[in-house]
């Protein structure tokens, strides 16, 4: 049976702050919680902003992880055809929290364990921001920044969801930076065929554009006091979160005593980026930081990068290169994974076969 920490009426009485907001009660496997929600915000964002660890991954309709059942009350669904909604039982009242807005007070059920403001949890919130400082890093990779109207505190490894004008829904991107009360997010996007945000950020309207940011989100975070050696496996723009982890490690002299091995997958030598940052981290690491650029579509015929010789080169898929290089060397390792879903799945598979415990694997899938 589900335990109930508060009767529904009590929750509604405590949480209702004004008549324009809806009182949301959410029944979970770990208890019943309440929060209030404006009709303009999604149930997922409102619940997360209250400090609840509602299950979610992409927060953008793709993955289906934030499914819930409406027990009473009315909701409005923004994107009925969301890929993550394909398996929902709509006749039972099932919804994706990231796509639904309350039209009045609601009682929801979420089939997961949920906590309220756990330790080390950065509570996300919506913030307006302005896009700027766009830099083309390769033929299809752009580094950009968002200046926030209100500062944000976020851990190394976290991400935000960005809504750009004229684009439906949000897109999730990891920050390259990290810190307390920052008013500037550093981000990187790789342009994909038919990719709406990638096209937009490369287009004439991006610089100076007003965007909406929701965050910080994500559990693939780095905390130096945990004292692990770090393994990072990333493909394409998935390297963003790894850069923030490396940056924090260097700044806090973490690599004087701990090791970091970064495996970064790109197609060809020309697709590599952040190489100067890698070279600096390797230099600062004094032998404890290794970076391997895995080229899936090119054999460079050499084992070091021609321009940044401390960066190693390998030919093959990044999760396979990492699996081979790490075999038997997983003691006290915390593994971070980010990139295209097939790469993430392949990397998780390599790690589990290699004997890495699941609690030592951190990733967020944007799907």
């Amino acid at each position: 049976m589900t335990t109930t920490s508060l009767a529904r009426a009590d929750v509604a009485a405590i949480e209702r702050v004004d008549a324009d907001r809806c009182a949301i009660t959410v029944e979970t496997r770990s208890g019943t919680f309440g929060f209030d929600c404006a009709t303009s915000e999604t149930l997922l964002y409102a619940g997360l902003a209250h400090g609840l660890t509602l299950p979610h991954e992409c927060a953008t309709g793709t993955c289906g992880t934030c499914r819930a059942r409406v027990m009473s009350g009315d909701v409005e669904v923004a994107w009925e055809e969301a890929p993550g909604a394909a398996k929902l039982k709509r006749d039972k009242g099932d919804i994706l929290l990231c796509q639904a807005r309350a039209l009045g007070d609601c009682v929801l059920r979420v089939p997961s364990d949920v906590a309220e403001r756990p330790l080390r949890h950065q509570i996300p919130a919506p913030r307006p921001g302005v896009v700027g400082n766009l830099q083309q890093l390769t033929s299809d990779v752009v580094h950009f920044e968002i200046v926030l109207a209100e500062p944000m505190t976020f851990d190394a490894g976290q991400f935000v969801v960005i809504e750009a004008p004229g684009l439906e829904g949000g897109r999730a991107y990891s920050m390259v930076n990290y810190g307390r009360d920052l008013d500037r997010l550093e981000l990187v996007v790789k342009r994909k065929p038919g990719g709406g945000f990638g096209d937009w950020i490369n287009g004439p309207l991006a610089s100076g554009a007003n965007v909406k940011v929701f965050g910080p989100l994500g559990r693939a975070t780095f905390h130096p006091d945990e004292g692990h050696d770090l393994l990072m496996i990333a493909g394409g723009s998935g390297i963003a979160g790894m850069m923030s982890i490396l940056s924090r490690g260097v700044r806090e002299r973490y690599f004087e005593t701990r090791k970091a091995k970064v495996f970064f997958g790109v197609r060809t030598l020309a697709d590599g980026f952040y190489l100067e940052d890698f070279a600096r981290a390797i230099d600062a690491g004094g032998g404890n930081v290794e970076v391997t650029l895995a080229l899936s579509h090119e054999d460079a015929g050499r084992l070091d990068h021609p321009d940044f010789p401390t960066v190693k080169l390998a030919h093959g898929f990044v999760h396979e290169i990492a699996g081979e290089a790490m075999a038997g060397a997983y003691d006290n390792v915390m593994a971070y994974i980010a990139g295209p879903p097939p790469m993430v799945d392949g990397a998780i598979r390599s790690l589990i076969i290699g004997g890495v415990g699941r609690s030592a694997i951190r990733y967020d899938k944007f799907g």
């Binding site: 992880t65 398996k87 039982k89 997961s112 076969i353 699941r358």
Partner: protein
């Protein structure tokens, strides 16, 4: 109830999964090294196809989508993130042939037409 042929034991290498069609019922056969299990073809979490998302190491089956995992020797849930048990068919091996007792197709709560509120929490 009837014992239904799945495949030969030799067709499923240790630490691999094989999807078979047992008289119209799709079943995954798992070889966890010291034995075999037969189960529905999807993860009880979000219906991922386990023949693609599943990986077996040290007797533990893990779905790589969200790291839900089960010990195939004991059928216990493995790790705090796993919230639902794995369902399995009774299985026997005769002369190198794997047979499962397939009375009716096993499904998870989210697939049942008559699921009630408790089922939504995986405790039905």
């Amino acid at each position: 109830m009837s014992w239904t042929y799945l495949c030969d034991a030799s067709e499923v290498a240790p630490n691999t999964l094989k999807l078979v069609d047992a008289k119209g019922v799709r079943i995954i056969v798992a070889n966890y090294g010291s034995g075999f299990r037969a189960m529905p073809p999807i993860c009880p979490h979000m219906e991922e196809p386990l023949d693609e998302s599943g990986v077996i190491a040290n007797c533990v089956l893990t779905c790589t989508k969200h790291l839900w995992a089960w010990n195939l020797a004991t059928l216990e849930m493995d790790g705090a993130e796993t919230e639902k048990p794995l369902k399995t068919y009774d299985l026997k091996e005769e002369d190198g042939r794997l047979l499962a007792l397939v009375d009716q197709e096993l499904t998870y709560d989210f697939d049942e037409e008559d699921d009630d509120d408790d089922d939504f929490f995986g405790k039905g």
